[in-house]
Amino acid sequence: MTERSSVDRLGRGPGLFGPRRRSVVREEGARGALIAFVSTVIFLGFVLWVILTSDAWPAVQRQFFNWTHFQAAWPSVLSGFWLDIRMFMLAEVLILAIALIVAMIRALRGPAFFPLRLLAVTFIDLIRGVPIILLILLLGFGVPALQLPGVPRSELLWGLTALVISYSAYTAEVYRAGIESVRESQRMSARSLGLTQVQTLRYVLVPQAIRNVIPALLNGFVSLQKDVALVFVLGVREGVREAQIYNAHTFNYTGYIAATILFLLVSVPLARFTDWYTDRDRRRKQVVGG
């Protein structure tokens, strides 16, 4: 500990977020907090003053922040949002599983696995290259229009399928980054112990890889949680669509605010959790590293 603090005084800490920065915050804590508080109050006060005194504000308030409309829009927006949440949870489970399989296939080595690897890379490249909304429209309207016998037509099912496919491609790359971040010696040791390629992946590489990429995966959660709403293009009455219907009916945007609040209620805690987890993980690694 003494050695570390001497490094701090010389101003050569291990990094921006390392112990040096923490000690600076501690020293200037009270004064810094006061300045931060005052400047925040002045800044927010100024922004609010500009907004609230502008000529357009009464109209904006009537159109966007209208309590009567909020109450009227709330039940349908909430029930639509509940569909969003259910879609999100189901899709996330499928995405995590499918993406892991794709990433593991891509991480296999040796010429024998070339066709599989090619398949995985092609899947990832193609799917990541297509805008998600296009994929939803293609699968949601396009595939059922073929009227193939035995192929389901549900817009909800196909919309979710498009989301799962698209996010699986991205998430597979996240996993891959994780697998590649595990030191090569780990793979070689495992192989020299007599583990097969698949066993090496399953018992040695993937468990370490997942730990490394949990923040990135959580980041994907936050993103998906909002993107599920895109299935509204297929006519599905989820939260955003319900808000739009209310808006189209009344020409009032407060329903959008209701939907915004609902999405924030889920995504902000998720984002905070991601940050907290990332921070904790980094601190743990530093302890191990030091």
């Binding site: 309207f141 009455r237 020409f251």
Partner: protein
Amino acid sequence: MRTRPNRLGKYVVIVTVLTILVAACADGAETTTTAGETTTTEATTSTTGLAACTAENLNLVTPGTLTIATGETAFPPWVGTPDEFFDEPESKTGFEAALAYEIAAYLGFSDDQVVWERTGFDEAIIAGPKDWDFNMQQYSITEVRDQVVDFSVPYYVTTQSLIVLEGSPYAEASTVEDLKGAKLGAAIGTTSVDFIENIIQPESAPNVYDENFDVVSAMNAGQIDGLVVDLPTAYFMTAVQLEGAVIAGRFEAAAAEPDEYGLLFAEGNPLVDCVNEAINALTADGTIDDLIAEWLEQGGELTTITG
């Protein structure tokens, strides 16, 4: 600290210069319009006899030009024709485009003084100034909407109709009761959505799509049993967009609230009075009826769905 008064001084100079410039521009504009006014007022008084509603007196976004907004893609039979003039309001084809030029002519605009803008259906409703004089894309006049924007007097009254695929069990529907089990669809912002929910009241809530052509896609995908749309659009859809689809019937007028289309203006725009005058005159002299006959009505008997 010493730099501050200097800086302030600089701002004062800039603001003053700008003010003078703006004032100068405004002066220039004023003189030209007054000059124009005297000449054209005479001209229009002789034709319409209403000095207040002439091109030069109107409250316009761009002086001297009538800026009209229509849909981001504007479909026949409202704007353009299915083939040659598709999505071309300048062609004066399609009911709304033709009517727009009649209104413009009544107010004293020549054809090339009419400029078309495109907006989404929803975005036309945001509070604040607009960059068009009025918006024309089958906006139904409703009380709630009227609180936020202004509408002209109605220029068309429509009824709702049901489209199904040939051979559908709902093709023979004759009352609203027959449709209780149907999965229906309609485009957002249309009164068709309200019509389904309030009048038909099917067991499952209707799917609601961005645009009419998305409803068509869902129909082709077999995701909905039928779609509800205003009758003129139904003619276009069954003729052009939907293979193997038929109009199962028009809903009895008594069942639907009278669905009246009006031009949409920014709240409080005084232009609405002059446009109303134009629409009333065009209704009185039969021009609008002629346009309806030309663009919106097609022969053939339709089932009336009662209830």
